[in-house]
Amino acid sequence: MSAKIPLLALLVVLGLSVPAGAQEAPEPGLAEVAETLQDNMNILWTCVAAFMVFFMQAGFAMVETGFTRAKNAVNILMKNAMDFSVGTLAFFFVGFGLMFGLNDSGWVGTDLFALRGQEGGTWIWTFLIFQTVFAATAATIVSGAMAERTKFVSYLVYSVFITLLIYPIFGSWAWGNLLLGDNKAWLADLGFLDFAGSTVVHSIGGWLALAGALVLGPRLGKYGPDGRPRAIMGHSLPLAALGVFILWFGWFGFNPGSTTVAGGDMGYIAVTTNLAAAAGAVVSMIVAWIIFKKPDASMTLNGALAGLVAITAGCDGVSAIGAAVIGGMGGVLVVLSVSFIDRVLKVDDPVGAVSVHGVCGAWGTLAVGLFNTESGLFYGGGLGQLGIQALGVGAGFLWAFGLGLVLFYVIKKTIGLRVSADEELRGLDVGEHGMEAYNGFQVFTTT
């Protein structure tokens, strides 16, 4: 490789637009070249992170399938595949604009629908794919809590609304200034910190899941005549475990990727993320062991996810030890929350989505107010940050749970939300899709 390269060639190598009359063009300076290279690197990392987050869809699909019964496997898989597909389109045409478009009010974006006129750009498209998979993550959380009894078509309608409206509008409050720096975003402007979306993504999904499961009612046979909860075991722990590993993997795109900058803190964020997940798994296993006398696998798997959800908001701003504590607390919370929702609230959440994403997402967001090394209470930052975090958590709950109740209630009253008891007993696979998941296998359908 010769040391002498015509500058035009260099411009091309770096993908810089060659100015007209390039001959007279000023030589690109060190600053410009350096920035271009870093930009390319950021595009590379943000794309790879987006791909990893996309893969979390497979993780959710496997977890939800594994934790539910074989007779409903096709249905839950279809729901996972379709909420992503429908969501991709809805977010592209509308959601993205509402979330990141020009925003003077701080309450909703107003342009960039379908990214019209952005054909030339490079970063904005990278940002779009990254945000699309985030939106789809919020959407897919709900399917697990509403599993085994929700009408397929009704679920499709729901998944349009969340990616079209519910998720992006809240998102614009907390993240609306990520693309256009001059945008207003009322929560962000108050100093609300949710680095990768404990609230923006997970709690929003979790509270919608709570609303859905509530309006829908429990699965047949979930509660005895005496109201005592009955166990309805999932049909494949191996698939569920695989799903959790995939989610854990994807989270390394979710959190470190939210820097959208290659290098720098990526490694640090990966460490806090991993420590929180590990602590969540270990602690939840111990708690379950103590309470239920056995190391319950499904709780332990939920515990790892709980740790991941909890650290998502603070992964960039807490100490490594702090991350482990936050994740461990998530592991405690998820076990208690699952039992509480199951026994006290008597809301039937087959996979524990509300506890993992809703409750632990809220915990993780609040934890920033405690553990953030700059503004956290435990680091002498006082109550200010904690208050703002609480405000954000509250706003998220009101917005998602409130709108969720309305949305699901309207669906219930119009097209109907739930399949017939008969179909539920025989399984949604046959009823909704006319096929079975495990053809040739003898599967007991006594529950």
Partner: protein, 113 residues
Amino acid sequence: MKMIIAYIQPEKLSDVKQALYAAEVFKLSVTNALGCGQQKGYTETYRGVDIEVNLLKKVRLEIAVNDDYVQPTINAIVKGARTGSIGDGKILVMPLEQTIRIRTGETGAVAIG
């Protein structure tokens, strides 16, 4: 002694078991089966091709009882399994000549329970 075989809807199993306990019938064996009876099947489609599914999932009970237990057992099964709709199932009673408890070698009436 009689051997009572019953085909019931899978989701009725727990009700039937409770009814049997109430009738003090504690020992039984369960297998799952595919059944074809008056109950009509349904069509599945796979990749655009129809499939007539006329073998429906059933649960098969096998209960060996002493003669005086036959009627109570039948009643219990009917009590637990009946919904009045097609597909409720069927009970079949067959003669049973001998019973041996492997553990003790006991035979006959005592071995059954």
